[in-house]
């Protein structure tokens, strides 16, 4: 009887955790660790583990992002896609190919510069492939949406949303592993 009560209580807490994580309650999505602790109790990490198992069946996962010192209360949890969407699908999310390419270049450049790079340099590199107005418009948008951060001195950093959504190691790995299409066909040419 007691066991049954525990199961019911656990189910209720998992459902509550799903509601907290999926419904936006603040300006930014996600929930802070202290909020989860307050609503779900001290063993909130265990409840999130159960929720993650359930979300896995739907192709989703619970992502933990540290915003400050590891183990501090500033840890934030999000629900993200477990896999990544194909490019054709991303376009239906309202992203253009150029938008994705601009963000890929900005992030890769910033990461290659140990996590920070002057805005002017990023704009100069992007200016080689994209019109200036699009570069400025997209960088502004990415700053507003949290993919990038800019300080008072005009230096760009990786933003909170990038930390939550982008597998930075995979981004650089995919970039370096990608061959130019022309080169591939050259390589296949008979000797």
């Amino acid at each position: 009887m007691a066991e049954e009560k525990d199961v019911v209580e656990l189910r209720e807490k998992v459902a509550r955790a799903a509601q907290l994580l999926l419904y936006r309650r603040h300006m930014q999505p996600g929930v802070k660790a202290w909020e989860l602790k307050r609503d779900l109790g001290r063993n909130y990490a265990e409840i999130l583990k159960v929720l993650d198992g359930e979300l896995q069946k739907l192709g989703l996962t619970v992502k933990k992002v540290s915003e400050g010192e590891e183990g501090s209360e500033s840890v934030r949890y999000f629900v993200t896609m477990r896999g990544h969407p194909p490019v054709s699908e991303v376009r239906t999310f309202g992203w253009r190919i150029d938008d994705m390419a601009i963000l890929a270049v900005s992030l890769s450049y910033i990461l290659s510069k140990r996590g920070k790079a002057p805005l002017k340099e990023v704009e100069r590199i992007l200016g080689e492939k994209f019109p200036r107005w699009r570069v400025e418009q997209d960088i502004d948008r990415f700053i507003r949406r949290g993919y990038l951060e800019e300080d008072d001195e005009g230096v760009l950093y990786v933003g909170w949303r990038t930390r939550a959504e982008v597998d930075q190691k995979a981004l650089l790995g995919l970039l370096l592993g990608r061959e130019k299409k022309g080169k591939e066909s050259e390589g296949q040419a008979p000797k």
Partner: protein, 264 residues
């Protein structure tokens, strides 16, 4: 013998180099720390003036900071995230936008979140609607004055040497094209369109918009009820004949710009 001027120049050069490491992301290993310390040691006994001594302290602190950055760089290089920056740059130059987009999509796991209105929000909306004054009352309180159109022609700027006609037309066309792109066949909020990273740039964009509207590239619609101003680009620039026009003064203060920027 190293003169006063050379000593000062050396210290300023070291300070500038150190600042470029922390500020502009220059590779800290490009700085010859040991050599610079030796040079500073050589000139130290010859420093007499207080200003020179301050520069010396600043240069030493700068070099110490470079050493700190070298340590951070080594830590970063040994981390999982290290890839050769030159190789990354080469790839960024070589790949077309479609390939870069695929790279991004391949590493992207978008956040899933939903928006919903809470009972508290519904109550607030209801209170707002109940207490909303009538259209007439609100219109009377609008902080806008109808004035006769004034003259601030591009020719005037051209006369003053601020802008050539060709440059101005090209700038206007670019802004029009951008407006069409952003409005996507419809209309766009005036504030969303002029918003830029700096206040100066925002004012400059607002200035351009005033020409777009005056020269018939776009129309401006003021919605007093919603307190919203909408911009609608026209498919072709239209000459405004037999149309009653009036000026709409829109104040752009730095505080307003900051408020809107912080609210995204």
């Amino acid at each position: 013998m190293v003169g006063d001027r050379e000593r000062k120049e050396l210290m300023l050069r070291i300070i500038d180099l150190c600042e470029s490491v922390s500020g502009r992301g220059v590779d800290p290993f490009d700085v010859e720390v040991k050599e610079f310390f030796e040079r500073l040691r050589e000139i130290l006994p010859k420093l007499r003036e207080r200003e020179e001594l301050f520069l010396d302290i600043e240069a030493v602190l700068g070099l110490a900071n470079v050493v700190f950055h070298q340590g951070e760089w080594i830590k970063y290089k040994s981390s999982m995230l290290y890839f050769d920056p030159m190789l990354i740059m080469w790839k960024l130059h070589a790949l077309p936008p479609s390939e870069l987009a695929e790279v991004f999509a391949g590493s992207w796991h978008p956040i899933l979140d939903m928006e919903c209105i809470s009972p508290h929000g519904i109550k607030e909306a209801m209170d707002y609607w109940t207490n909303l004054p009538s259209l007439e009352d609100r219109g009377a309180k609008l902080d806008a004055v109808e004035v006769l159109p004034g003259e601030i022609a591009a020719q005037e700027l051209e006369r003053l040497g601020v802008l050539s006609e060709e440059e101005f037309v090209a700038t206007l066309e670019r802004a029009w094209k951008e407006l069409k792109g952003k409005a996507n066949g419809g209309e766009i909020s005036y504030w969303d369109f002029i918003a830029a990273r700096t206040f100066e740039r925002t004012v400059s964009r607002a200035w351009l918009v005033s020409f777009l509207v005056s020269y018939g590239y776009a129309t401006l619609e003021v919605k007093p009820l919603e307190e919203e101003i909408l911009l609608k680009p026209l498919p072709k620039p239209m000459k405004l004949e037999r149309v009653v026009t009036f000026s709409v003064p829109i104040a752009i203060s730095r505080s307003e710009w900051l408020r809107r920027r912080s609210h995204g």
